[in-house]
Every structure is written in structure tokens, then in C-alpha cells.
Symmetry: C2
Subunit: 202 residues, 2 copies
DNA sequence: GAGATTGACATACGGAGCGTATGCGAGATG
DNA sequence: CATCTCGCATACGCTCCGTATGTCAATCTC
């Protein structure tokens, strides 16, 4: 079944290393995380790590790809729960802001990822998150809901705004007070993309 | 005048170290930059560095503070050149996007800064850049040009959007093609903050 | 089914880098 | 002129990464 016992246990060990890396990178940051400690935590050595991932950055890439996939899934679920369309795009933004409040996501994907792997759009994982937003924007433009701006540009700026909103909320002393402000401002900005702006709601 | 010869030369050496660090961090990134090489480049040793800046992060903080100040100055100049007001805010955003195309600024302030020093709003330099944008937004809200959103929220999201726009442009193969798209999308988003939206321009 | 082979992983080694403790010599102080 | 200050250099230990080599079980070959 599992394509020989060797390959199966190797896959299991890969998964264990990635799980350990998620914890270590989230706690200490990529630069300060020790590969010796990380591997020892799952009863392995650096030998296993270099065999499976090439080097330290390779492990980070694998971790980022995994988390990025989970984020894209969550964002899409939020958009669908809101019924898609324009409310879906707003829901996606809110979901993104809330996800970025997770210390693991913030530290690994949003801070260390760009710093050590370069621009997200050129990651091997292809940034699933960004693609979800792009698809949503593309559909809304086709439906005439949004102005015909460049799709990738709009998706990137929305994600960037959400990211900074989240960094702000996360570093504030009273996140529960700041979060609604961030969400409101994000929705205001998003409305700038609407073809026929809605009347002010406040 | 110069408060004793010792203090004067010390200030000069601080400046030389910061200048060398700007070059080294921009070229190799903060993590990969060697303090030995960096100090040797200006005929000093790590002894001088630890005496003046405490540790490696202290040097990064000093470098970031210097660049951040220059950025704030440039952004403000751009806003004033555009005559202030709403056009000034747009000009500020454009200036910010263009500045982020500078490899030194992108690498040090936008990537390594947040990764190694934490959230920009809590940097010792207090993020002069962000404050300039906040002042502009505050005035525009007081004048009724913008919706009464939270000032810090708006400033942060605008800066975040501009940052991601710049990262995108910088990593693209044809920056001169992508830049106008990024600027256009940025201006669209900004219009979401307007109290009375302007008619579509395209 | 026994020897040969592959491969996943451990062990050992070398090099580089950071932070600190200590030493030194030029300028400040009286 | 003697003493002190302090900015900076030197020397040391520690940690960490990447690689080269060894090892043993799982698979393959005949």
C-alpha cells in the first residue's frame, strides 16, 4: 500500500520535522531557531533534516508552503460562507486579518518568509493565499462590481493592507479595541475598488 | 565646540559604522552580514561596534532609524510639492512606493526591520514615516475630505498597501510596466477613504 | 534465502560568527 | 606631571550551520 515501508516512514519523519519546525520558528523566529534542538525534539538529528530538506531554508520553505495552504483554505471558506461576491471579498479580508493575528502565521509567513525566502509571489508554494484573492477579484471585475483595475495589483494591495492591519492589531496592547478599527479601515479602502461606490454607512 | 576631541571622533566613527552597515545589510541582508567584515571595511573592529551599539540588533536599529528619517523627509516633500490636501496624500503614497523600490530601503527597513526588530510602530525611531502619513490623514479628516475613520488605522493600511505594491514591483521582471499598475490600484484604494467619492476616471 | 545494494539517518569534523572579558594607549582632569 | 577615563583592539569560548563519512535495516538479485 504505502509504497514500501521505507518511503512511508520517511514521509512520517518529514511531517514530524515540519511540525517541530513550525513550533520552533514560531517561538524563536527562523534565525534564532536551532536545528539541533528542533530535530532532537522529535528524536532525530540534523542528518535527517539535511537529507529531506537540503538546508535550513528548505525547511522554512516547506513550513511556509504548508501554512500558506491552510490560510488559502480558510480564506476561501470565509468568502463562501459570506455568499461570495462583494461581501465575500470583504469576508476574505477580515479572515486574512484575523489569521495574521495568529503568532505562528505572523512570525513565519508574514515576517520571516519574505525576509529569508524573498518575495512571496516567487515562492515554490506559489502563495496560494494570493491566488484565492486574485480569483475573487477577477470574478468581481468581470461582473462589473469592481473597477477594471489590474487584478494582481488589486489582490496584492488588499493582502498588503490586511497584513499591516494585522501587525498593528497584534502589537497593540488592546487588540479587541483595535481590531474593529482595522477592519473598518480595511473595508473603507476596499470600497475604493467598487465601480459604483456605496453611500457612507456611518 | 565639539565637546572634546574624543566625543567628536566617536561620533564620526559611529557614523562610519552606520554607513558601512547600510551597505552590508543592503547587500547581504541583516542575518548574513558579518560584523567582522563590516567593521573592517572602515578600519575598525567589533570592539568599537559593541561599545557604541550594544549588539548587532542595536546597529540595525540605528541604521533603520536613519533611513526611516530620510524616508519621512522625502514623503513630506512629495506631499508639499503636490500642494498638500488630497493630491498630497496621493503623492505621498506614490513617493512611498517609489522609495520602496530602492533595494537598500526594501531590504533593511521593509524586510529585515520588521523581522528582527518587531513591529515598526514600536521602534525607537518611532517610525517617522508613519507619523507623516498620520498627520496628513488627520488634517484631511478634519477638513471633511476623508471619511472619519481611525487615523492610525488608515495611515497603517495605506503604508502597508504601498509596501506590498513596492515589493511586487521590485520583484517583477518589468518594473516599468508594473509600476503604473501598482500606482493606479493604490489610488483606487485610497479613494475608498474619500467622503464624497470622485467619479471613475477611466 | 543469502549476498549485494540502496538509502534514510546518525556521527564527526571544520569553519564562521557572535558576545564578552580583558588589555592598552591617547586624551581629559586636577 | 600624575592620574583617571574611556573608546577601541585583542583574545577567548560558545553555538551553530553545512558536509563528509559511517552504519544498519529494508529492498533487490539470482
Amino acid at each position: 500500500m504505502a509504497q514500501s515501508k521505507r518511503a512511508a516512514t520517511m514521509e512520517a519523519n518529514r511531517a514530524r520535522l515540519i511540525a517541530a519546525a513550525r513550533a520552533a520558528f514560531a517561538e524563536h523566529g527562523f534565525a534564532a531557531a536551532s536545528m539541533d534542538d528542533l530535530t532532537a525534539a522529535v528524536r532525530l538529528t540534523r542528518g535527517a533534516l539535511y537529507h529531506s530538506f537540503g538546508d535550513k531554508r528548505g525547511l522554512l520553505a516547506a513550513v511556509v508552503a504548508q501554512i500558506d495552504g491552510e490560510m488559502a483554505q480558510r480564506a476561501q471558506a470565509a468568502a463562501e460562507a459570506a455568499g461570495g461576491g462583494w461581501p465575500g471579498l470583504l469576508a476574505e479580508g477580515r479572515a486574512y486579518i484575523r489569521m495574521a493575528l495568529d503568532p505562528e502565521i505572523r512570525r513565519i509567513v508574514l515576517l520571516d518568509g519574505p525576509a529569508f525566502l524573498g518575495d512571496p509571489s516567487q515562492w515554490p508554494s506559489q502563495n496560494a493565499c494570493l491566488e484565492v484573492t486574485q480569483r475573487t477579484v477577477a470574478r468581481l471585475i468581470a461582473d462589473g462590481v469592481l473597477k477594471p483595475v489590474d487584478i494582481e495589483a488589486a489582490a496584492r494591495l488588499l493582502n498588503g493592507a490586511a497584513l499591516n492591519a494585522a501587525l498593528w492589531v497584534a502589537s497593540s496592547q488592546a487588540p479587541e479595541v483595535v481590531l474593529p478599527k482595522a477592519v473598518e479601515a480595511f473595508e473603507c479602502l476596499s470600497e475604493g475598488l467598487l465601480a459604483r461606490p456605496a453611500p457612507a454607512t456611518s
